[in-house]
Structures are given as C-alpha cells and as structure tokens.
C-alpha cells in the first residue's frame, strides 16, 4: 500500500459518494409531498375528531408509500436522520414543525380557534418543503457532488 494507492482509493470513494448524491436528487413533487405531510399534521387540530383522525391515518399511510417510491426511483433509501451535517437540518425541521403543532393543538383544541391551525398548517407545509430542499442541498454538498 503506497501513497498513490491511498489517494486513488480515497478518490474512488469520493466519486462513489458524488454519484450516489446525484442519484438521490429528488424531484420538486417529492419535497412538496413531505411539506404536505408536515402541513397536514400541523393543520389537523383545525378539524373535528373524525376528520382529524382521518388526516393522521392518511399521513401515517403516506409515509411507507413515499419510502416505497424513493426506493423504486433511486434504488436506495437514505435515512433523513443519518449522521452528518444533514442531521442538523432534519432536527431543525422537526423542532419547528413540533412547535407549530403544539401551538396548533393549543389554539385549535384548547381554544376552539380553527383559523390559526390552518394558517400554521400552511406555514408548516412551506417550512417542510423548503426544509426538504435544504436537506438535499446540504447532502449533495457534503457528498461533493
């Protein structure tokens, strides 16, 4: 094992990571789908028990569907909470969305305000969509693609 072999091996590794990052690029609808799930969750307290339950069941049902399409489209599955710089983005999205959801629950279920959860849902959708795009940008940069 010599210096040039080590450099060549590291270069091959970086090449593979860059190719993988390019293959993992998501179309706009995929970012929007994640945003919709987040927005739906945040807006759910605006609705009555039956509709709220239906929305939550639909969100839970959509998660494996999205994972299935990701696997089929890319030939791999990348965990959003993977180690690396993307984890900061993922946790940031989670904290903001949870905060919106808590406010939505307090306003919608605690105070009978149905408008605020809907507005927060729109905000949650936008934050989820933009967050997903940001996550991908950070991932691609980290992989050197």
């Amino acid at each position: 094992m010599d210096h040039s072999e080590a450099l060549s091996a590291l270069s091959a590794k970086r090449d593979a990571e860059a190719q993988m990052a390019r293959a993992a690029t998501c179309p706009p609808w995929r970012h929007a789908a994640f945003g919709l799930l987040m927005g739906g969750l945040v807006a759910s307290p605006a609705f009555g028990l039956a509709a709220r339950t239906g929305i939550l069941v639909l969100i839970l049902a959509c998660i494996p569907v999205i994972i299935h399409f990701d696997r089929k489209r890319m030939g791999m599955f990348i965990n959003g909470y993977r180690r690396g710089k993307t984890r900061v983005v993922a946790i940031g999205i989670l904290i903001v969305e949870l905060a919106l959801y808590v406010v939505s629950v307090v306003r919608g279920l605690g105070m009978g305000d149905h408008t605020t959860p809907l507005l927060l849902g729109v905000a949650g959708m936008l934050i989820g969509t933009i967050g997903s795009m940001l996550w991908q940008r950070v991932f691609v940069r980290e992989m050197g693609a």
Partner: protein, 116 residues
Amino acid sequence: MDVPTGFDAVLHPPARLQIAAVLAQAQEAEFALLRKVTGASDSVMSKHLAALVEAGYVSLRKAATDGRQRTWARLTPSGRTAFGRHVKALEALAAAVASEPTERQTAVVKNARRTA
C-alpha cells in the same frame, strides 16, 4: 511503506470501497445502483458482494418490486466500523506521505548539516 493500522484488505479493492461508501450513507441500496456506481459487470459485482458478505460487512436480502426480484445490500455494524477504520487509515497514509520530506529535500538537509 508499512500497512497502516485499520487498513482492511477486504475493503481495499476500489469497487468494494465504493460499495461500502454508498452503503455507509444509504441505509440500503439496490444491486443495480451499486453496479452503476462502481461500473462493474453483474458477475464482478456479485463476487465483490459475496466477499463483503463473507467478511460479515454486508447483508443481502431479496425483495420483489414490480414483479421482479431485486437484491438489496446493507452495511452491517461491523462493516460500518471496518469501513470507518479503513478510510481513516487511507487518510492517515495520504496525509503522512504528503507531509514527509522528499528524497531531494532530505539530501539537501543532510548536505547542509555536513557543510555546517
């Protein structure tokens, strides 16, 4: 040059290192994607995967998608550890040699000491 600590002969071939690099980032990857990334043929890829499975670094599962049987690969915890160590060994080797003086630099220093 000595073999650096952490160097792993199983992960040394470039295609295997590339397979491990992809699997270290993705939770699971399909055979076709790995073949595309490495540029290896089906048979060569199968041999590399078999060697990684034998070493306990990769686990394989077969799953039907759209009526076709596909092979999915995943890095095992020991594979992840071995890959991390191997990459560190490569980086250490690359850095160490880069910081070592060249033969010419060494000769100049020796010559300077002799004449001082």
